[in-house]
């Protein structure tokens, strides 16, 4: 399942949603807006999405990952849209299954794919007031 939201991502809420007697392992990836020295004064990121296409592409990604890793039970992407200040989560990815081994590898692949495939863009807002569209680095 994939959601785009303008509201802060409630991590604990989503963990609770995916607890299940058959789930022995749950892996989470949380991406935050950061302002490390190389980011040169970022105060927030503004995300924009082609929402209809994000949801359609996410269904394709989910099918692809489930086919490659049949032991995965649930896949979830929550991506924040709009302004996300430093230290707030912009992305939550949850994978569940019976064992941990499959999840680690699947998570790496799932995140790489979503960053390459989902039509979402981010703009950095800087302390000095300037704004700049950012690229993903792989």
């Amino acid at each position: 399942m994939t959601h785009l939201t303008k509201d802060p991502i409630e991590i604990q809420y989503w963990i609770d949603q995916y607890k299940h007697p058959e789930v022995g392992a749950m892996e989470l990836f949380i991406g935050f807006t950061r302002n490390s020295p190389e980011d040169d004064g970022i105060v927030s990121l503004v995300y924009e999405a082609y929402e209809e296409m994000v949801l359609a592409e996410a269904v394709t990604l989910e099918s692809f990952i489930k086919q490659r890793y049949p032991l995965i039970r649930d896949l979830l992407i929550i991506h924040r849209i709009g302004e996300v200040p430093v230290s707030e989560p912009s992305l939550l990815v949850v994978l569940t299954g019976s064992h941990r081994q499959t999840l680690f590898q699947a998570m790496e692949e799932y995140i790489d794919l979503l960053k390459k495939k989902l039509p979402i863009w981010k703009k950095g807002i800087y302390r000095d007031g300037h704004e700049q569209w950012l690229m993903n680095h792989f």
Binding site: E48, E52, S90, L114, K116, W121, N136
Partner: protein, 81 residues
Amino acid sequence: MQVKVLFFGPAKDVTGLSHCDYTIESHTPLQDIIVRLYADFPKAKEVFDLCSFVINKDFATPETVLKDQDQIAVLPPVSGG
């Protein structure tokens, strides 16, 4: 026939629009709209050069023939996550 062009991210900023509409003849290929976009938004050339064009959320070739009410999206390189 009418088609709508949607702009996202840097393409939206450089054109100053979230969308625009074009009237086209039947059998018009996507390439004709791309040519019109370059002509109508000359300042956007550098951004358009990096963009993909999709029709109704599906990737399309320049030869794809447009239909009435198609939505063409101009997609710069993505940067989600």
